[in-house]
């Protein structure tokens, strides 16, 4: 009796595993990458699965660098990156398609009295030349630099626009946009950078050169600290039918409204 029970359990387990594998190949879309794109991709995925209820949509927030590596190695259908591809990555057969444009907000604790920083001040702060908030018109407190890990698209965008590539002296290197926001919201000395679409009222976004970050200022380019949200695919391999359908839909005018309501500027507009 016990033996038959064990045999039946093993067969049931094997059957479950077989079914699990089968489902993934035809009716699912897997996306992997940028943590800044969480809101946009979440909204798009939800809307798409409501239209096509048999499709399973997954999003893995691992960071832009990891998403690019993932699509290159075939571990996901569409990679998500919050920076443009480098030449070396394009040479490896990857193709980028802009989905939206997002501002990178420079965030501080809400109790910090500083409202505006110039680009030079931001660069000086992050390279360690300015170490106290007093030097930029704030309280007499030390500046704590919070940033992202080296493969992050947000970090790449921030460092290239402020001209501080490889020179930033971070106190903390965190691995997602959400972590940066949480860390800055807990420390009144901190300054950090995070996707404009993701920031909440727990932190304060500073003006850069007098321009406040918003969808309008990102769209007309007056807010300089911005970068594209890219969908990354392989040039050589075709997407599965389900993934291709999602890809086309996300870039169409139907999805533009969803993208805009997530706080970023749709690339189609």
């Amino acid at each position: 009796m016990k033996r038959t029970a064990i045999v039946i359990a093993i067969i049931a387990l094997a059957a479950c595993m077989a079914f699990a594998n089968g489902q993934r190949e035809t009716r699912s879309i897997s996306t992997d990458g940028s943590t800044s794109m969480e809101k946009v991709i979440g909204a798009l995925g939800e809307a798409y699965t409501q239209l096509h209820s048999e499709v399973g949509f997954t999003y893995n927030p691992t960071g832009s660098g990891s998403g690019i590596a993932s699509v290159k190695e075939g571990r996901c259908d569409i990679g998500l990156s919050s920076r443009a591809l480098r030449d070396s990555e394009k040479a490896e057969g990857l193709v980028e398609t802009p989905l939206a444009y997002d501002g990178i907000a420079i965030i501080v604790h809400p109790s910090n009295s500083v409202e505006n920083l110039s680009m030079q001040q931001i660069a000086a702060i992050y390279t360690g030349e300015i170490t106290s908030w007093k030097a930029v018109g704030g309280p007499d407190l030390p500046i704590v630099l919070i940033g992202r890990e080296a493969g992050s698209g947000t970090r790449d965008g921030f460092e290239s626009i402020t001209g501080t590539t490889d020179q930033c002296l971070y106190r903390q290197e965190l691995t997602s946009t959400g972590d940066v926001i949480a860390s800055v919201s807990q420390n009144e000395n901190a300054i950090g950078y995070a996707s404009l679409a993701s920031i909440k009222s727990s932190v304060k976004a500073l003006k850069v050169d007098g321009i406040a970050p918003s969808e309008e200022s990102v769209k007309d380019g007056t807010y300089a600290v911005q970068r594209p949200f890219m969908l990354i695919t392989k040039a050589t391999a075709k997407l599965s039918q389900t993934a291709q359908a999602f890809f086309d839909w996300a870039l169409s005018s139907q999805a533009a409204g969803i993208i805009s309501s997530s706080g970023v500027v749709s690339a189609g507009l």
């Binding site: 030390p142 704590v144 106190r171 420390n187």
Partner: protein, 277 residues
């Protein structure tokens, strides 16, 4: 039947062998390209910079400091707790406290990291008037709490195994309870206690998730109130997007970590052999 059991045992051996072979074969190329001395005692780690640097001395020192300090803090607490559980506690108290210690050992490390991030980091910031609480100190405190159950459980077993005759003789000669425990029981159980410390150190040096959330992750030389990165967090934070020499260097870090763990395990088995004899 014996053959079946042997084959399962060989499967375990094969796993360890495969991991060793994989680590050595993936880790050696980068060490060859970077140079063993430059790798082990180089102070600059900048794997994605235009002029990359692959010196892991900051990571090695940070991991060693954290493991040593967490054992230094955790062992008196753990040892005295084990002493209490083994010698002084009533059966009921022992059962309750043992259950709680087991519960502590079962808590996932990411939960430790979360609690550390939410409670410990702001607490340390306020207590020491620092600009930021994420530091080596936060990691040491989290690790001390994590190694506590290991030390308590193994030391309790070791103290339980001390023959009653030793303690009875000591008491008969006029020593007090406490003098007996400190002067006879602990020395008699010293090999088991040392084994528990080595096990705890192994856990501390191999911990990645919990310390990643409280230590700040900047590749500095270790300093108590500065942000640090350990061998484990260095691998965890860069592995997902790495490529080329950077990825091979991460495997080399894994190899170095593996060597440390092997040294600790060899020390452990030597201690256990001594205690058996």
């Amino acid at each position: 039947m014996k053959a079946v059991l042997l084959s399962f045992a060989l499967a375990a051996v094969a796993s360890v062998a495969l991991i060793t072979v994989f680590l050595v074969s993936s880790g050696l190329p980068a060490i060859g390209k970077i140079g063993l001395l430059e790798f082990i005692i180089g102070k600059r780690w900048a794997s994605t910079a235009k002029d990359p640097g692959f010196g892991i001395l900051p990571f090695i020192l940070s991991s060693l400091y954290a493991a040593t300090c967490s054992i230094l803090i955790g062992s008196p607490i753990g040892l005295l707790c084990a002493l209490y559980l083994s010698k002084a506690a009533s059966k009921r108290t022992r059962a309750v406290i043992s259950t709680l210690v087991d519960l502590l050992s079962g808590i996932p490390s990411v939960v430790f990291g979360l609690v550390g991030m939410m409670v410990l980091v702001p607490g340390i910031k306020q207590l020491f008037n620092l600009s930021d609480g994420s530091s080596l100190l936060s990691a040491i405190i989290v690790l001390s709490i994590m190694v506590l159950p290991t030390i308590v459980k193994v030391s309790t077993t070791a103290l339980d195994a001390v023959p009653r005759e030793y303690e009875d003789s000591s008491l008969a000669l006029g020593a007090s309870q406490v003098q007996t425990w400190l002067g006879v029981s602990i020395p008699a159980a010293r090999n088991g206690i040392a084994a528990s410390l080595v096990l705890g150190a192994g856990r501390a040096i191999g911990e990645a998730m919990a310390v990643m959330m409280v230590s700040g992750n900047a590749a500095n030389m270790p300093s108590l109130f500065q942000s640090v990165r350990f061998l484990t967090t260095a691998i965890a934070s860069e592995m997902s997007y790495s490529s080329g020499l950077q990825r091979q260097a991460l495997f080399s870090i894994a190899l170095v970590l593996y060597v440390f763990i092997m040294i600790m395990n060899m020390a452990l088995s030597w201690l256990v052999k001594r205690s058996a004899s």
